[in-house]
Structures are given as C-alpha cells and as structure tokens.
C-alpha cells in the first residue's frame, strides 16, 4: 500500500464520521429514554383514534386552521366522543391535555420538531 499513513488517517476519519450515532449515544447516554406523555386531565377517548391522532394530528390542525380562519367553520363532529366540539387548539386540545410542556413538547423535543403553532397561539399555562 502506498502512502499508508495518509490512507489510514483518511479511513479513520471516514469510520469516525460513519460511527457518529454510536459514539454520540455512548457520550450522550440517553438511548433508551422514550418521551413520557402526561395523561389527559379529563375524558377517556381523544377526538379521533389515538394512534391515528399521534401520526396525523398535524394534518388535522392544519385543516382546522384553514376551515376556521377562511370558512368560519368552527365545529367538528367527533366520532369517538359522539359529540360536536370546537375546532380550537387552545380550548379543545389544551382543554384536556392541560400542559403544553408535559404533552406537546415531550415528543416534539424528542424529535426536534419545531411546530409554528406557537408563533401565534399561546400556552395559557405559561401566563398564569
């Protein structure tokens, strides 16, 4: 092998970069921790199936915003609750899941998601 020193340095740099998640996990030490969500303050069911809610709540909130702001359509028929609820992040979502910090932020922080909901909305708890 020619230029053995340089080749080995190059390969070591490659392997260190490729193994970044492994040594980051060893150094950071938080590999098995899952986000723990606070239980809803009231009610048994979410307004839609909770697995579907976990995966698609951003679409729902996006639709709600457009419908409320552009069409003045403020009411949502929930199948799981069998009742009509208000399309409102602050009143409906945060009405049950009382704490943004202990509910929304848990998963969002875990996955570095920065939703822009809070550019306009406020978390009422933060101001009490």
């Amino acid at each position: 092998m020619h230029n053995t020193g340089k080749i080995i340095i190059g390969l070591l740099i490659f392997l260190v970069i490729a193994a970044f998640p492994i040594w980051y996990a060893v150094a950071g030490g938080k590999t098995g921790e899952m986000p723990v969500l606070e239980k809803a303050a009231r009610g048994e069911n979410c307004i839609i199936d909770s697995v579907l809610m976990k995966e698609t709540h951003m679409f729902l909130l996006d639709d709600w915003r457009d419908e409320v702001v552009r069409e003045d359509d403020r009411w949502y028929r929930s199948m799981t609750l069998d009742s009509t609820i208000e399309k409102s992040l602050t009143r409906t979502c945060l009405g049950c899941h009382a704490s943004k910090a202990n509910f929304c932020d848990r998963c969002h922080d875990y996955l570095a998601v920065v939703p822009y909901c809070w550019d306009c909305h406020v978390d009422p708890k933060e101001f009490e």
Binding site: M1, H2, N3, T4, I7, G10, L11, F14, L15, A18, F20, P21, I22, Y24, A25, G28, K30, T31, G32, E33, M34, P35, V51, K54, E55, T56, M58, F59, L61, D62, C107, D109, Y110, L111, A112, V114, Y116
Partner: protein, 332 residues
C-alpha cells in the same frame, strides 16, 4: 432496455419489504437484521475497496496541465490548479469534493448542420449534480434527529433553513423538492441524448432509481397518509445505534420500504460506481502535487539497474587506450 431492467430491479426490491412485513410478518428481519447487515457490508466493503486502490502501483506522477506549475520565483504559479505542496493539494481536493470543479469544466461536442462539429460549455450536469449531492447531504444530516438523542445542534438549524418558506404542513423542505428534481433531470439527461443513452448501463439507471425511490418513500411518509409514528421510528433507530434493537409494533409498511431501500443503497455501495465517494480522494490527477521538478518520483517497479559509467569503462581499458595513444580523463 437497461433502464427498463433497472426499473424492474427496483420493483422487485419494492415488493420484498411489502411481502416480508405485510405477509410474512418478518418485521425484526427488516427492522434490525437487514439494516445491520447493510451497514456491515458498507463499512467493510468501503475499507476493502480503498485498501485495494491504495495498493495499486503509482508508476508516474500525473501532472495536470490546467495551471502553471511552480518553477522560477518570477513566474506566477497556480497553487490550486497545479499545487506543488500538500496544502495546495488539500485545497484542490476540497474544491473538487465540495464544488465539483473539474465537472464545471465539462464541455460538449455537437454535430450541427453542415456538417459542422461544435464545442461548447455544458454546465447542466455540474448544476444538477451539485444540487443533488448537496440536497442528499442536507437530508442525511437532518435524519440525525432519529439517530441521536438529544438531536444534534445542526439539525434544528438545517430544518429551519430548509423549511424557510414554511410552505404546507408538515413544512415542505426545499431539499426534498431539489433532490427529486435533480435526480429526475440526471435520469432524463441519460435518456435524451443518444450518445449518452448508448453508454448508459443498467447500473447507471439503477443508482438513480434507487435514490429516487428512497426520496419518494420518504416524501410519501412525511407528507401523505402513509405516515409513520416517528416516535416509534426513533425508538427503532436508537435501538439500532445502541445495539439493543427493539421493533415497535405500530411501524407501517412505508417505513419498512424506505428503510429497505436505504439498506440496499448501503449494501450496494461498495460494489458500485457510488464508491466515487471514496474514490475521489484516490484520483491521481487530484491528489498528486505537481512537483516533479522539485522532487523525483521513483517508479516503485524500478529494480536496481546495472550501470557501467564512462569512468568505470576507462578504468577497465586504461592500459589498452594508453598504448593506442587515446586521450584519457585520468592519466594514472
């Protein structure tokens, strides 16, 4: 034909995780075994190929003539085009890797009416290649939100920059659009030009289709109803990197398709032209300093040549030469 063959390969590869997880229920195989095997193939294969390349002989110093070599102090030399030391070589290599400088010099030859042969600049390949590679890098770096807890510092910055225009929800990343556009262009470019179509192999199309499939499955998972619960996805990813693999039940088939395509890319990497990622550093015209006036490059094949100098020759025949009255360098 070769494009159709590559497309057929992709369809077969698409069916494997669908049948594997949906029908056979081999979620552990597709979530843990195949990704580990792919990473092992990637790392071992990569190192093996580099060592193989590094072991081949370097008989000549290959100087490129696109810049003035360093010679006399009053002649201005080009330290990036014809570097004469290691720092110059590092500079040239960095520009090559980051901005594809030699591809920027790409020209095309066209036969126009007349018939007349016309040469001209051709920047489209360079532009699409640059967009594609940078998009891929940014997308890869963004994915570290799944592989590292807490997410590394660069992730949120890249996400903010990439989603700067806040179009749609989830926010459409510019790199997602760019990579699909660039790879599509690189594919159509091969189909459009008859000369290029003639020299294109199945493996050329396959690499493009594979990357397009990875991008498409990821985009579908992010923006459409094929969503995966990313908390579970991160649990799987963190299990893999900490060597305590867990396979959450709720992960859907689109994620396994995405992961399988990525695994195929990693496993295929060392066997394919994608090895240019490591190979670029091994290119003699890029990594050799143009210093053959300063330092003699010795061919490693050279054996010790048996020489017979004039002095030795004269020593051998001095007496005879002296007797014949011939002039001598040394009299004795």
């Amino acid at each position: 034909m070769s494009a159709l063959f590559a497309l057929l390969m992709i369809i077969v590869l698409l069916l494997i995780p669908i049948i594997g997880t949906e029908v056979l229920g081999l979620n552990y195989v597709f979530g843990v075994v195949i990704p580990y095997a792919a990473i092992a193939m990637f790392l071992i294969g990569f190192v093996y190929r580099i060592v193989r390349w590094a072991s081949s002989a370097v008989p000549f110093k290959i100087t490129t003539t696109c810049g003035q070599q360093k010679s006399h102090p009053w002649i201005k030399s080009s330290s990036l085009e014809a570097p004469h030391n290691t720092w110059g070589v590092i500079g040239r290599m960095a520009l090559e890797v980051l901005f594809f400088r030699s591809l920027f010099r790409n020209t095309k030859a066209d036969l126009r009416e007349g018939p007349k042969l016309v040469y001209g600049p051709s920047k489209w390949l360079w532009a699409a290649g640059l967009v594609f590679h940078w998009s891929f890098l940014i997308i890869l770096l963004r994915h570290f939100r799944f592989f590292a807890e807490p997410a590394p510092f660069f992730v949120s910055g890249l996400q903010a920059l990439d989603g700067f225009f806040q179009i749609g929800l989830p926010i459409i990343y510019l790199t997602n659009v760019a990579i699909v556009a660039a790879v599509t262009f690189l594919f159509l470019r091969r189909l459009y030009d008859p000369k290029l179509r003639y020299i294109s192999l199945g493996s050329d199309y396959f690499a493009l289709f594979l990357i397009l499939s990875i991008a498409a499955s990821g985009i579908l998972m992010r923006y459409t109803g094929f969503r995966a619960d990313i908390v579970d996805v991160k649990q799987l990813a963190m299990g893999l990197v900490s060597f305590h693999p867990v396979v959450p039940e709720t992960i859907g088939v689109m994620f396994y398709i995405h992961l399988f395509f990525v695994a195929v890319l990693f496993g295929y990497f060392p066997f394919s032209k994608l090895m240019h990622m490591g190979g670029i550093f091994m290119s003699p015209t890029r990594n050799m300093a143009n210093n053959n006036r300063e330092e003699r490059h010795v061919n490693p094949w050279n054996y010790p040549v048996k020489t017979h100098t004039y002095e030795e020759w004269e020593d051998e025949f001095r007496d005879v030469m002296k007797a014949a009255g011939m002039p001598l360098e040394k009299e004795k």
